[in-house]
Symmetry: C2
Subunit: 162 residues, 2 copies
């Protein structure tokens, strides 16, 4: 995470997301919490890409949830397949009006609004190698704790590259 | 972390700490951030005890920082030695007036106020076993992300045991 600048440690500014994407994000995070997973939005992967949500279950399984606010958003995204290398399960989270049949078959599907989400299809498991999981879990831990520190005491992270 | 109730996922209520302990906590967290570590205050260990601060460096080294707000606080604490089994390095963090010579020799010492901390003595390394580190890192990741979720959307964690 040495490439993580201060800007990655504060919550993502509202401007980065559409209203729809924000609602889906909140609903998906609530769904994850109800299933016992903790999630970090806008999680920077080692590849430099950002996953919309990364989540960890009690045993350390890593999920990535990609939010698609529209069909156009999905069609123009060429990076989602890369996320598979950084998780044990890959989901798309979309709004209630999204035509889920266009989503790739080997991914999970959540249909979400601002208040929660429903599972349309479970994501297949493609287990990470041990070393990758270890590095990802540490990265996740540092991202979550860094954001928490930034919220509790913004001054603490001034000029710090974690 | 199945034993972690909702109450562990929100920030500790002010009432749990003295003003002095809070100041030392903030200063110690700033010191950790400046050294590239992220810290989680009031971290519940697998043993059920709470470490005042648990921290992770970039390589995954785990530090525990025990805050002692007074000599009495130190003399009456019989649990600090247990923390060694849950970290690679164990520090005490005390205020500027604390007589540091009474602290155990095989621990690190930080002298802190609300604005930062100075290193009086580096903590010796007693490296964790791999399985313990793995479990601790996951626990840390889930604690930090759970608190972050609780701050961003308290409703998401209502009735949830993470």
């Amino acid at each position: 995470m040495s490439d993580t600048a201060f800007s990655d440690l504060v919550l993502p500014p509202d401007g980065r997301q559409s209203e729809t994407a924000r609602a889906i994000q909140r609903g998906a995070l609530r769904y994850l919490a109800a299933r016992g997973l903790v999630g970090v939005p806008e999680f920077s992967l080692a590849s430099g890409r950002r996953a919309d949500i990364a989540a960890l279950d009690l045993r350390g399984e890593v999920w990535v949830v990609e939010i698609k606010s529209s069909v156009t958003d999905f069609r123009t995204d060429r990076k989602w397949a890369d996320y598979r290398a950084h998780c044990d399960r890959l989901f798309f989270a979309v709004g209630p009006d999204f035509p889920v049949e266009i989503l790739p078959e080997d991914t999970g599907i959540l249909v979400a609004d601002a208040f929660g989400a429903g599972l349309v299809r479970e994501a297949p498991l493609h287990a990470l190698a041990g070393a990758t999981r270890k590095a990802l879990t540490l990265r996740f831990a540092r991202a979550a704790a860094g954001r928490l520190m930034g919220l509790m005491d913004p001054e603490a992270l001034r000029g710090v590259v974690l």
